[in-house]
Symmetry: C2
């Protein structure tokens, strides 16, 4: 029992350390030796948990990245009676909390997708799964918004979820490319205006 | 005179061939030998025009990529009395003309930015210059739209230009990540709805 808990803890620690290294340097530029050097495990132990570097990357996508995107963008919406207002406030909160380092590194999901999707079909499918989950879970909240009368009756909630995720992800990409935090405020205004344009009630930020 | 024209033609041919190779395989994965093998020039001639592979990449950014983005997204707007209508139609036309190969390769500007901006500050600044030109030229058309009464009086044209470019670029990135052309239609609807929401007149597509 204790050994199982320890094993889970070790595995989880390796994934967390690997996430940081890969986020900073990219997947291909991070070696197993780099990751082992940052943890307290031996290389043998590393390969016990992850038979190859790719296996680690897949676990990182399924377990860390997926939860990260849903924790950031979707789960906070549970606290809002009006999910549209929740989406606008969550965008703003994430924007304001983004550190300069995160701003210049960009979104880890976007980075790994750009780097690995064309190289490895297993990565490609797993990364697509994360984006699909992000869109699908956003859609559920928008369905709730529509059912409760916060969206105009003719709004397509699937379309809106796809556009919202495109704007959430596209904003981080453009701000990274331009290296200019001020642009984030314009993109936030655009996101807010888009969400207001499909809302049935005025929904302005205070 | 003839020799100068020939030299310009050779240089331009090298850039065009290099663009195709780099678009398909990435900048770092494309060697000077790869590019020379696809043209009729010797390696010596290549280095006559471009002292290093990076010099070729910089010229490609300044000369090919910049024109490509402006030719695709901005210059067609000159043909429209209402630039907002022009932006929506241009988005749709580019979406419909995107081949399956281009869809899976994504936007060449976005790819080169993701690959090279963190690696080389000269690339980073030149690629930022292309995005800034794209935003800046879009802003001029939106200014014209506002002056001629096509936008609501309180619309910030700079904000709108930044959001439009984010949506234009973010759409290509999301469709590439998902590998699903159908999503493009949702994102087009979102772009159209956003542009309509800031317009002073109904502006629906036929």
């Amino acid at each position: 029992m204790r050994r199982t808990r320890d094993a889970e803890k070790t595995r989880s620690e390796i994934l967390q350390v690997a996430f940081g290294e890969i986020y900073e340097h990219g997947f291909q530029a991070t070696s197993v030796n780099d990751m082992v050097a940052k943890t307290n495990v031996t290389k043998g132990a590393f390969f016990h948990y992850f038979p190859s570097k790719n296996d680690l990357g897949y676990a990182l996508t399924d377990e860390i990245l997926r939860d990260m995107m849903l924790n950031r963008w979707v789960r906070p919406l549970n606290a809002y009676r009006n999910p549209v207002q929740g989406m606008v406030r969550t965008y703003r909160k994430l924007m304001e909390e983004t550190t300069d380092e995160e701003l210049s590194l960009g979104c880890p999901l976007n980075n790994l997708t750009q780097e690995m999707s064309a190289v490895d079909p297993v990565f490609r499918d797993k990364l697509r799964g994360v984006i699909q989950a992000w869109i699908g879970e956003t859609e559920k909240h928008l369905r709730r918004a529509k059912d409760e009368g916060y969206l105009r009756p003719n709004v397509d909630v699937r379309m809106t979820a796809e556009v919202a995720v495109m704007m959430e992800e596209g904003s981080a990409a453009l701000v990274k490319s331009l290296g200019d935090r001020k642009v984030y405020w314009s993109l936030y205004d655009g996101f807010r205006l888009f969400m207001e344009s499909i809302s049935s009630k005025p929904n302005r930020e205070a």
